[in-house]
Symmetry: C2
Subunit: 381 residues, 2 copies
């Protein structure tokens, strides 16, 4: 960490809100999708994990540009993997891990007449609030590196611990986050009010909605909202919802608790436009756990989270990727797969809804949305 802090990173002086920049929603027009390519052998079983991302990239790249971010050790291999793909660009970045959602910059835009300008913000990344547990000094610099590779001005908010998975926005001034993630764990010295001010200044917000908790047993990220509840339109969110939630028949009591608590907040809080938010209930997968076989073949290295057999996976269909023409939904070969796809078809009747079997990414502690970052459409940099 000392090494990271010594760097004098150039930063814009004002805040995005003062400069008129805001974070657009994922469902707004995109320029490109950035995807992390599993390259860290301490996190993934590389070959099957790479095949998941390859499947995601193949689908999205049929319709828009995909930038694949790869560690040097895997760059040549990734070039080979994607050599026949027209819209895919393999970009080498020296990272520790591959969770692009959390280490890439958060992109901001500003409309000026007919032009759309692009900037970015980088947060303090310290390994999801676990600075001592895992290596993250290179990940902490990735936002600036990607921003620089695009030659765009950068806001350096490196006194606030936060990741892209910590929030979901509607592009109209509303943000949803969880108390588990941003309030209790990462920024213990900051009050909710202070955090509201920071998020408002850097993402240009007028309404911040705090739900209490992320999905059950999301131990790596400690409550990322993008696994439990995300915006899918202005005034529309999907919320992960275990079968029979709110009834005695519900067998997933832990998830039931957090889904009910989130619903209560969402149903009683207007968005930035003053409107009631429509909540779509997204079927939550049955309880999935690490198998003994998986634990045997999962890597164990210094600087990685330790995995154990029979421990619950933080699997959720909500951790999906929305692009201009396609929604990629993680599936788990389980009873909720087809219903999750159907839910998204109803929300996005004009987009192609594609399921990708994503268990291999979930074994690494995240999911496909955690491996992605959308770059909004812009005309000027």
């Amino acid at each position: 960490m000392t090494k990271t802090r010594k760097i004098c990173i150039k930063s814009l002086v004002k805040t995005p809100i003062k400069d008129g920049f805001y974070m657009p929603a994922e469902f707004q027009k995109q320029e490109a999708t950035w995807l992390g390519f599993p390259s860290n052998p301490g996190t993934f079983r590389l070959t099957p994990a790479q095949k998941v991302i390859q499947a995601v990239a193949d689908i999205i790249s049929k319709y828009q540009k995909v930038n694949i971010v790869v560690q040097p050790s895997m760059w040549e291999h990734a070039c080979d993997v994607f050599k026949n793909c027209k819209n895919i660009f393999v970009v080498e970045v020296n990272t520790n891990d591959n969770w692009l959602r959390d280490i890439a910059p958060t992109f901001l835009i500003k409309n000026v007449n007919k032009d759309i300008y692009l900037r970015s913000v980088g947060w303090k990344f310290n390994g999801w609030g676990n600075p001592k547990e895992i290596e993250h000094n290179l990940d902490a610099l990735t936002a600036l590196k990607i921003s620089n590779s695009l030659s765009i001005p950068f806001y350096n908010k490196n006194d606030f611990v936060c990741e892209g998975g910590s929030f979901s926005v509607d592009g109209q001034g509303t943000l949803i986050t969880t108390e588990q993630c941003l309030l209790n764990h990462r920024n213990k010295n900051l009050s909710k009010k202070q955090i509201n001010t920071i998020l408002s200044n850097y993402l240009n917000l007028t309404q911040i909605i705090w739900i209490p908790h992320g999905v059950a047993n999301d131990t790596d990220t400690m409550g990322h909202v993008d696994n439990i509840c995300v915006f899918v339109g202005v005034g529309k969110v999907i919320l992960t919802w275990p079968d029979d939630c709110g009834t005695e028949q519900c067998v997933d009591k832990e998830q039931e608790k957090w889904s009910l608590a989130a619903l209560h907040v969402l149903e009683n809080t207007p968005d930035a436009n003053g409107n009631k938010i429509k909540v779509y209930k997204m079927p939550h997968p049955p309880i999935l756990t690490y198998s003994k076989e998986e634990i045997k073949t999962l890597p164990v290295t210094d600087g990685s989270f330790v995995r154990k057999a029979n421990v619950r996976l933080a699997a959720s269909h909500v951790n999906l990727i929305i692009t201009n023409d396609v929604v990629v939904v993680p599936t788990f070969n389980c009873s909720t797969d087809s219903r999750a796809l159907k839910t998204m078809s109803e929300i996005f009747p004009d987009k192609k809804i594609v399921g990708v079997y994503a268990r291999e990414i979930v074994l690494g502690g995240g999911n496909i949305h955690c491996m992605s970052q959308q770059q909004p459409y812009s005309t000027k940099t």
Copy 2:
């Protein structure tokens, strides 16, 4: 080299000429200047060499974007150096050396209605025809890496040894190169006619002008044209010209020979438009050599060219950088400095002409143009 060749690099199938793309001249409108930051301790005395590039970047960035390409070992330091510079973006790339002109892609554009599309071509880089002498496996991949970071389609011409310093174009179909560089040394299996065809197909040309030789003792590049003669406008070139060239009083007989030979060709060959080329004589510096003191402090490592005291430097004012608003001219604290600047002022009365003392870069075997690559203005990628 084996490692380099194994990579399956994605490439566009057709040639640029068939796709309607061409290489614009350096004096056409630019989007950005790319600069290599001295990071290879086997080539440069790093601190003073970095100060030269810093001076170049400072001037250019007052008017347009500058992307600084840095090896990982120096990325944090470069961020610190440029932290107060508004238009400068420090981009990390795993390279061997820092000669951006020769390892960055050659950018191509195509005009379609009101839009300008951007693509790039990468040549086979094998250390200026010296594949065994110096390390270059990472340099050989840099064109693709930079192209991918811009998400632009790439033409992979990796069966033809060539570098950005091997040619100068007018953007109207004319290219100048030297026989010493492209014909004799790098591609021994190819005839002049075959090389003409390759260059024409990849840069979109109708007239290729071969001058015999580069400047005196340009031993590293073996005859790069950008050290002896470059286009400064349509139908206009500058040619390095030792004092009293063509008379008995000329003391630099070696350079005199190559300047006279080049002049003979240039005066007797029309450009692609069928017009006679106007030759501006650029004063050639007096004979400069490595000092004993410099040799003592210059690095000696495996995989670098060996330097010796009293050996002639390949110093030339022609190795300058043309940008939208500024021309940066290398100077050497010698009698020709002010005349070189004056010559450029006459050619570009509307641009700012700035001299930068560049000896420290010349000690590494090149000059400031060799450290740069222009990215043409484009509206679409």
